[in-house]
Each structure stands twice: as C-alpha cells, then as structure tokens.
C-alpha cells in the first residue's frame, strides 16, 4: 500500500460505492457516481491540472453493475497510482474502464439479478407458505452475504492486484453459481406451489373434491404459457380477475341455488 492510498481511503471509497447509482442519468449513466466514488483517491494522488484532468476522464460514460464496480474501482485506484507515478498513460485507464464495464455488468446482472435474487426470494416465499414467518430475514441475510462480501472483497482484491483482479473474480466462477441457483430456485418454487395448494385445500374458498388441484395447476400452466408469449403480468392480472368476477357473479345471478 502506498503512502497516499491507505486503508482509510479505500474504506471511504467502499462507503461511497453504496451511493454509486444515486445520480444515474440517461446521458452518461453512472458517470457522476463513478467520479464521486473515486474522488477520495484522486484527491490524494493529484493536484492542480493533473487533478482536473483526472476528474475529466472519470466523467466518461460509465454503465456497469453496482456491486461489481467495487472490484473495478479498486483496480482503477491501482492504475491511477501508476499514472501518477508516470508508469502508464491516462488513456490506458480510460480504455480499461470502457473494456471492463460490459463484461462486469454481464456477470453481475446474471448472477445477482437473474439468479441469486430469484433464488433467495423463492426460498423465502417457500418458507412463508410453509409457515416460517421470519423467512424474509433469511432472504436478506443470504442475499447480502454475497452482496456485501463481493463488494468488500472486490475493492480490496482490485487494489491489491490491479488489472489482474478479474482473474480472481473468474476463480469464484459466479457464472457456474448462477446456473446451479436456477435448479435450487426451481425446487423452492415447487415446494412453494405445493404448500400453497395445501393451504387452499383447507382455506375458506376451497372448492372441494380435489378441484383446487385442477384449477391451480391448470391456471399456472395457462398463465405461464401466456407470459412466455409476452402477455404482460398486469394485463393477465386484470384480465383473469375480470373473468373470475364475471363468472362467479354470473353464476350467482343465474343459478342462485347452484352454490
């Protein structure tokens, strides 16, 4: 660790990275956020014209995944040290950022948004339906274990190894993790559906004679296919609710004895 960049600076960058997306804008996405996060390091490394130019290059377009950006911030701090020492040119930092933001977003989006979040949520939903009221706490703990862990690890590993941080991230193999979590999420959703069906069987709106099974499974299949054919969730919500309403009300109006 160099004289200018100490643990305190990295800790401030970590804290600021929680506000990385506070100033998102459509023109340059997270550029203000990036400059804001890297600020403590720039203030230590540069002064005068150099400082101004450093800020300018960190206001470039930037768009990546918020959690993965900590690893990139760590690596960029390391690179900026090299720039300040005259070992590399500032353009290399620019190119590095532009190169890395896409793949990092790909890994972050597919691991956190498309895999871990649905899996942790499916687990908690299955828990709630099976009578575990504190399941949302499990959801938060499980998710944030990965989230906070990756942020802190990414920043320190990024600073320690510079450009080579991505070999370390590769070694965690989040992509493989993503794949597996979909199987686990599938199992959780199966359990959730079964417990849900069980409560329906004993609930106030039970239909009797095992009809609940047919109705629920049939509905899930129809709705799943409709969603796959790009019908929106809100559209289906109102469409099927209106159908149910007219059906039940109609049944009661024309065959009052039927119920």
């Amino acid at each position: 660790m160099s004289a200018q960049i100490n643990r305190g600076v990295l800790a401030r960058i970590l804290w600021r990275s929680f506000f990385f997306q506070a100033a998102n804008n459509y023109e340059r996405m997270q550029n203000v956020g990036f400059a804001y996060c890297i600020q403590p390091a720039l203030e230590r490394l540069y002064a005068g014209d150099d400082l101004q130019r450093a800020y300018e290059r960190h206001l470039d377009f930037f768009n990546s995944h918020a959690y993965m950006t900590d690893a990139l911030l760590g690596a960029v701090v390391k690179l900026e040290e090299d720039v300040a020492a005259g070992r590399i040119s500032p353009d290399q930092v620019r190119a590095f950022k532009a190169t890395m933001m896409g793949p990092l977003a790909a890994i972050g989006d597919s691991f956190f948004w498309a895999s871990l979040k649905p899996f942790a949520a499916a687990l908690a939903v299955a828990g709630i339906f099976s009578g575990v009221p504190w399941a949302p706490i499990v959801f938060l703990l499980l998710y944030n274990l990965f989230h906070l862990g990756l942020r802190a690890y990414g920043l320190s590993a990024g600073y320690a190894s510079g450009e080579r941080v991505f070999e370390k991230i590769c070694r965690i193999d989040l992509v493989q993790f993503s794949d597996r979590s979909h199987y686990l999420a599938g199992i959780c959703l199966g359990v959730a559906s079964a417990t849900l069906l069980d409560t329906t069987l004993h609930g106030p709106f039970a239909l009797g004679q095992g009809l609940e099974f047919v109705v629920l499974v049939g509905l899930v299949l129809i709705l799943f296919q409709s969603l796959k054919r790009k019908l929106d969730m809100p559209w289906l919500l109102y469409g099927f609710s209106a159908l149910t309403l007219s059906f039940v009300v109609g049944l009661n109006t024309f065959f009052p004895l039927f119920r």
Partner: protein, 238 residues
C-alpha cells in the same frame, strides 16, 4: 404509541420513500423487495402477522422485474408500499383483512408499479442536469460540488417517490374502502376466488419464467409433486 390514520399515512410514506432509495439509488440491500417492504409496513402498523402472506404473493407477482442496462422495469417497491399500506391500513382502521380484501388491494395498487416506472424514467432524464453540473464543477475546479451531486440525486428520488406514495396511498385507500363488497355477497366471493386462485397462480407463473434452464422447470414440477404427496400423506396419518 397512539396511532391515528393521518400519522400512519405519513409514517408509511416516509418509510416507503426511504425504501424506494434502496431499490437503486443507495445501498441496494434488497430492503426494497416486496418480501421485505410489506412486513416492514406491517411492523410499523403493528400488524406484522397479517402482512406475511401478502408479502409473498406480491414478491412472486413482480419477481421478473429486472434492472438490466439502461432499461427500466416496473417499480415493484412503490407498488408494494401502496398495496401493503392500503391492505394493512384497512386491517387496522376499517374492517379487517381477508383474501378478498387483499386481492382488491393488489388490483388497486398494481398500476402504481407502472406509474413508478414512468417516474423513474423522468428522474433519469432530469438527472442529465447532474452530469452537466459535474462537468461544470470540474471545469471550475469546484470539486466539493461534485461530491454533493449524488445527494442531490437522492433527495430528488426521495421527494418524487414520497409524493407518489402519499398520493397513491390516499387514493388507493379510498378506492379499497369504497369498492370492498359486503362479505357473503357474490362480488365478495369472486374477489376471494381471485385472491385464493388467480393471484397465487399468476405469481408462481411469473416466478417460473425467471428460471433459465429447462431442467430447472422439470425440478420445479418434481418437487411440487413430491411435496404435495408428502403433505397429503402427513394429512392422512394425523
């Protein structure tokens, strides 16, 4: 703690606007997911147990709402604050909570997710000023201003989302109280059926679309059958 409807409306608005920040602008600890938002509203109103089922259902319904790249998904956080808020306020101040009322709350509150998305897009467009201000600050070497810009962004989001939540809570609650049918009638039965069948089935269907492997779907089917048979067996031996 003494409660009054006005104080509770204010408290939910404040909580909702804070949680809305967690959705993207700050932290992203997933406190903004319906699964957490609705129990927190329940905790605030002192009716946590009643909030849990609704939390699970709303979570499932908006499970596919992903933020990737520059695309903007429906805002499930604002929708769940409003759905949870009006349902639980109804439980506390009006006439309890049952499947029919919960279903009506979802139907009344769901459009807020779309209005929320519109607001998100507006805010991101407005934030172009922040990028311009950052450029100016650097040109003038006024770096302290640069470090304040994220706070400006946060405040904007907080105020805008808070205003939307407050307005939607008042309109939504009025709709819920006035539209709620008398228990026992056909419309009540119908809403109960929506709450018992349509919402869970739609929620599960949305959640299934987030599975990316075909084998994951097969596993979901298998675990469903196994669990259900297990539950039937348990029920028989009791």
């Amino acid at each position: 703690m003494t409660h009054s409807l006005a104080v509770d409306l204010g408290a939910i608005t404040l909580l909702g606007a804070l949680l809305a920040l967690d959705r993207r602008a700050a932290f992203q600890l997933m406190l903004s997911q319906p699964l957490v938002v609705i129990p927190l509203v329940g905790l605030l109103l002192g009716c946590l147990p009643e909030s849990i089922w609704l939390a699970a259902i709303v979570q499932l319904l908006w499970m596919a709402s992903l933020t990737v790249g520059a695309s903007v998904p429906p805002n499930e956080t604002l929708a769940s604050v409003v759905i949870g808020g009006i349902a639980l306020l109804h439980a506390r101040y009006f006439d309890g909570l049952d499947r029919a009322t919960e279903a009506l709350a979802v139907l009344v509150g769901a459009p807020v997710s779309l209005v929320g998305r519109w607001l998100d897009v507006r805010l991101d467009k407005e934030n172009a000023h922040l990028a311009a201000r950052a450029d100016r600050a650097v040109a003038e070497r006024d770096y302290a201003t640069l470090s304040r810009l994220p706070l400006v962004g946060l405040m904007r989001t907080f105020v805008a989302d808070g205003a939307l939540v407050a307005l939607s809570l008042i309109v939504g609650l009025a709709l819920l109280v006035n539209l709620r049918p008398t228990p026992g009638g056909p419309v009540y039965e119908a809403l109960g059926t929506v709450g018992t069948y349509i919402l869970p089935a739609l929620g599960i269907a949305v959640a299934l679309t987030t599975l990316r492997r075909r084998r994951a779907l097969a596993l979901a089917g298998a675990s469903f059958v196994l669990t259900f048979v297990g539950l039937l067996w348990l029920g028989r031996t009791e």
